[in-house]
């Protein structure tokens, strides 16, 4: 009896294995993308994760689209007129745009969406981009008049994520509770099937008003395990992966069917070594504790630590070589805004030692740790990082030995992110923190982090204060000439680089990979790597 049952079971398993093969279905040419995430919700007003925005970028349209080189082009509008005072933008919305349900997209939908983002209190992130909005009018179906409270140089990046929603759907629902699983937009792909934490199935919109995809659809599949993700690409179960562990890069490069692409990410990010350099007079009166080591107020010490930091070794150990040495808080992925003319401080421990010797930081008691020039306290620095970071512990160990070699001791401790925020800013109860930032495509926010005004708000993590820098910031914030603004921003980077406000160990790079035997035409020549971006998904076609 039992034996027969086992045999039947074995037969069943065999049948399942044998009769499988790839289910091609009749969905046409579908691209399978593997990724490790999943949108948290399709209602962008309450979404937090970047995966939600990746999907939105394909399903929705907004006023502008961001190109891989950091420039912008108009998307739902033909033309834009700016008033002389820099306050009134008049957009002519294109004719003949339709939502996926067939309804036309007009200026009224745009105005409705912008008002929703501006007024909805339950939309914590998108409302940030409406900060400068004064009035939003749609005098007719093809005209949108946007009036600002003050002239700003970066209206494109403000409107980039304000996706245009159909008024006839969103005016009927609770905009916070609505799950938006149908996700009716006007982009080149439309939602076909969505299973949270499993997959997102998008279908191509044929005869789209701007550009129709050459493929028939794309499926984003979630892999909770990164090794399984890589294995899925190797066995051909997916055609492209948007991320991978750095340890897999070497293996995938040896596979002749797979092409690995490495470069700056679409979403700019930066890793920083933060020095507490808040001056006693700038210590926030309400929240400030300000217990930073006095030596860090001295530029010479920060400069010496820069020379004592071997960035290439950090990149090789922490990122397995997949990173670029950093200069300032403005990363290379910000394209034209990134000042690449700066020359980095060379790794030179001898020079670091000499700088510290000359400035009077000597090891007077022979314990291997230098003391302050007045002998008051040793150069022992507390070093903290968020406990959820996988790269920071290794970096901390490396810095501990690199800085130790020039007589600066570090006491290492990981902290829960909440606890780290509590000691960081605006309390300034630390010496050195290893942390990082993500950023918009516009450098405005990252530049503001180093302003004197941001010390009490908690956005400034260093306590850095320089009136010249502050003045340049105010100047670039109203400079409407693109090239002049870039010039000012480059100058600001030079100032903070010379003041050694931070040490930026690296800008992490994006690593993605695709199968060369499936689809061709991937955009890998841009300044950034983003194979999941419309710039690739609209032009790829199956290998003949």
């Amino acid at each position: 009896m039992k034996l027969k049952q086992y045999l039947a079971l074995c037969l069943l398993i065999f049948l399942l294995v044998a009769c499988g093969g790839r289910d091609s279905g009749d969905g046409g040419v579908v691209l399978n993308v593997g990724w490790a995430g999943s949108p948290d919700t399709l209602n962008l007003g309450v979404a937090v994760l970047t995966e939600a925005y990746t999907i939105a970028e394909l399903v929705y349209e907004s006023m502008y689209q961001l190109n891989l080189d950091g420039t912008y082009t108009l998307e739902v509008a033909d033309t834009v007129l700016l008033s002389d005072d820099g306050l009134v933008y008049t957009y002519k919305i294109r004719n003949g745009i339709t939502f996926h349900d067939g309804e036309p997209l007009t200026a009224r939908d745009v105005a409705f969406s912008y008002r929703l983002y501006q007024e909805q209190e339950g939309y914590p992130f998108l409302s940030i981009y409406t900060y400068y909005f004064d009035t939003i009018e749609a005098p007719d179906d093809s005209t949108l008049v946007l009036t600002l409270t003050e002239p700003i140089p970066n209206i494109e990046s403000q409107l980039l994520f304000l996706y245009i929603l159909p008024e006839h759907i969103w005016s009927e629902v609770d905009p916070v509770e609505y799950e938006n699983t149908e996700m009716i937009g006007s982009g080149p792909f439309k939602m076909k099937e969505y299973r949270q934490n499993q997959f997102v199935h998008l279908e191509a919109v044929k005869n789209h008003h701007l550009q129709s995809p050459k493929i028939d659809g794309v499926i984003f599949r979630t892999y909770d395990n990164q090794d399984a993700l890589v294995q899925a690409l190797r066995t051909g179960q997916v055609d492209m992966i948007t991320e991978m562990p750095n340890t897999a890069v070497a293996t995938l490069r040896n596979d002749s069917n797979i092409e690995v692409v490495v470069g700056p990410p679409l979403a700019p990010s930066v890793t920083d070594i933060i020095f507490n350099q808040v001056l006693p007079e700038n210590c926030p009166p309400d929240d400030g504790v300000c217990t930073g080591h006095p030596a860090l107020l001295d530029r010479t010490v920060r400069l010496a630590l820069s020379h004592a930091t071997d960035k290439q070794q950090i990149i090789d150990v922490v990122l397995l070589g997949l990173g670029a040495p950093g200069l300032t808080l403005i990363p290379d992925s910000l394209g034209v805004f990134y000042n690449d003319s700066l020359v980095d401080y060379a790794y030179d421990p001898a020079l670091a030692n000499r700088l510290l010797d000359e400035a009077g930081y000597l090891d007077t008691n022979g314990d291997g740790v230098r003391e302050m020039p007045d002998g008051s306290r040793p150069l022992t620095l507390r070093m903290n990082w968020p406990s959820d970071s996988t790269s920071a512990p290794r970096m901390a160990e490396l810095l501990n030995s690199m800085w130790g070699a020039v007589g600066v001791r570090t006491e290492l401790q990981a902290l829960d992110p909440d606890a780290l925020t509590a000691i960081c800013c605006p309390s300034f109860d630390f010496d050195v923190i290893l942390w990082g930032w993500g950023s918009d495509p516009d450098p405005g926010f990252l530049l503001s982090v180093m302003l004197t005004d941001e010390i009490p708000t908690g956005n400034s993590e260093t306590g850095y204060s320089n009136p010249a820098y502050d003045a340049l910031y105010r100047q670039q914030a109203v400079e409407l000439d693109k090239n002049k603004r870039i010039e000012l921003i480059w100058e600001m980077q030079r100032i903070v680089f010379e003041d050694v406000v931070y040490i930026i160990p690296y800008y992490a790079q994006e690593t993605q990979a695709y199968r060369v035997d499936r689809f061709t035409g991937w955009r890998t020549d841009g300044d950034k790597v983003a194979l999941e971006d419309p710039s690739s998904l609209l032009v790829i076609e199956p290998v003949k």
Binding site: C19, G25, V48, E121, G122, P124, I128, R195, N225
Partner: protein, 343 residues
């Protein structure tokens, strides 16, 4: 009548435990450090007003319970407020209406999330548990009957190895092997975008996705069942009445079936009930290796995000399942072993 009283008493205890768990669940997660309105977000542009708006939306602006404003950090609060305005009361009254709340993370009703994940988990772990129990018991009986022969040693060695294999590692190895040489799927429970012509095709697709995770789970649990079954049967076989049965000339099969198995089942019932209860908790490691959309993975993610409603709902579900499984085991036990009844 006496049996009825025992059942009643056990039921009362089960209900009491569930009530206790409901209360404990609520406070347990609020003792954790971290603010759900900020968890997972380090965006300084999130203004104070925006955070307050999130807190109001989730009801986190209200005091935890009378006299306690928040548990971590501990802040005493007003004792004289209306209890209807405390988080605890709102939680309990929603629960009584069958509402588990809205997930902070995905903005969806917790009941919907848990229902989806629960069936996936029951499917995966259920199939694997049944396989592991059947195979483990058969192997255990065979090993006990052929004690101290090569069959016994082989089964023992295999089971010990299976039991001590790290689940995660075994899963990855099977995933690499299965996807490369058998072409089995690497993730999920179905092929996204597939159009099934027949129901059979849909079931076949599900079956293909089940093979590797089920195999992993079965191997890991097989050893435990086999070892316990073997020692239980060995115990029974050393009893005098088995000798008598042999002396009467009964066949091996009859002795096992009629005399040894029922007594040897007692420890098995306990362990099976315990394991089945925890089935709904899923298997975090297997679910994450094979990207299986189950409960274990959902709980793991919710802890990181301080997603209280999901955690409360999931823990309640697990507690009820474990208590229920224990209750059934208790009742079944007294049926199998009449001595338990009289005690």
């Amino acid at each position: 009548m006496r049996y009825f009283r025992i059942v009643l008493r056990k039921l009362a205890w089960a209900v009491f435990t569930v009530v206790f768990v409901i209360c404990l669940n609520f406070f347990l997660f609020r003792v954790l450090p971290g603010d759900p309105a900020r968890a997972g977000i380090r965006d300084p542009r999130l203004t104070r007003q925006a955070i307050e708006a999130i807190q109001v939306r989730f009801g986190l602006d209200k005091p935890v319970i009378n006299c306690v404003e928040s548990l971590n950090p501990f802040t005493p609060g007003d004792c004289l407020i209306n209890p209807l305005q405390t988080q605890f009361f709102i939680y309990v009254s929603n629960l009584l209406r069958g509402e588990l709340g809205i997930s902070y993370h995905s903005n969806r009703p917790v009941a919907t999330i848990l229902r989806e994940q629960l069936w996936n988990t029951i499917l995966l772990i259920g199939v694997a548990q049944v396989l592991a129990i059947v195979l483990g018991m058969t192997l255990g009986i065979a090993a006990a009957w052929k004690a101290r022969t090569p069959i016994d040693y082989l089964a023992l060695l295999g089971s010990l190895m299976a039991w001590s294999l790290p689940t995660f590692w075994l899963g990855i190895i099977l995933l690499f092997w299965g996807s490369t040489s058998l072409g089995l799927p690497t993730a999920g429970k179905s092929t996204p975008g597939a159009n099934y012509a027949t129901l059979w095709q849909q079931w076949a697709d599900l079956g293909r996705h089940l093979i590797l995770p089920t195999l992993t789970y079965t191997i890991v649990f097989l050893g435990e069942y086999m070892l316990i079954m073997r020692s239980a049967v060995l115990d029974v076989l050393s009893e005098d009445y088995i000798l008598t049965a042999k002396a009467k000339g009964l066949s091996t099969f009859q002795i096992l079936k009629d005399h040894a198995l029922q007594n040897a089942m007692l420890p098995m019932v306990t362990i099976i009930a315990l394991n089945l209860g925890f089935t709904v908790a899923g298997a975090i490691q297997i679910e994450s290796v094979f990207s299986w959309p189950g409960l274990g993975k959902a709980i793991f993610d919710a802890v990181g995000r301080r997603d209280y409603p999901v955690l409360q709902g999931a823990f309640l579900l697990i507690a009820v399942a474990v208590i229920l499984a224990n209750l059934i085991a208790d009742l079944f036990y007294s049926y199998l072993d009449p001595r338990v009844q009289t005690e």
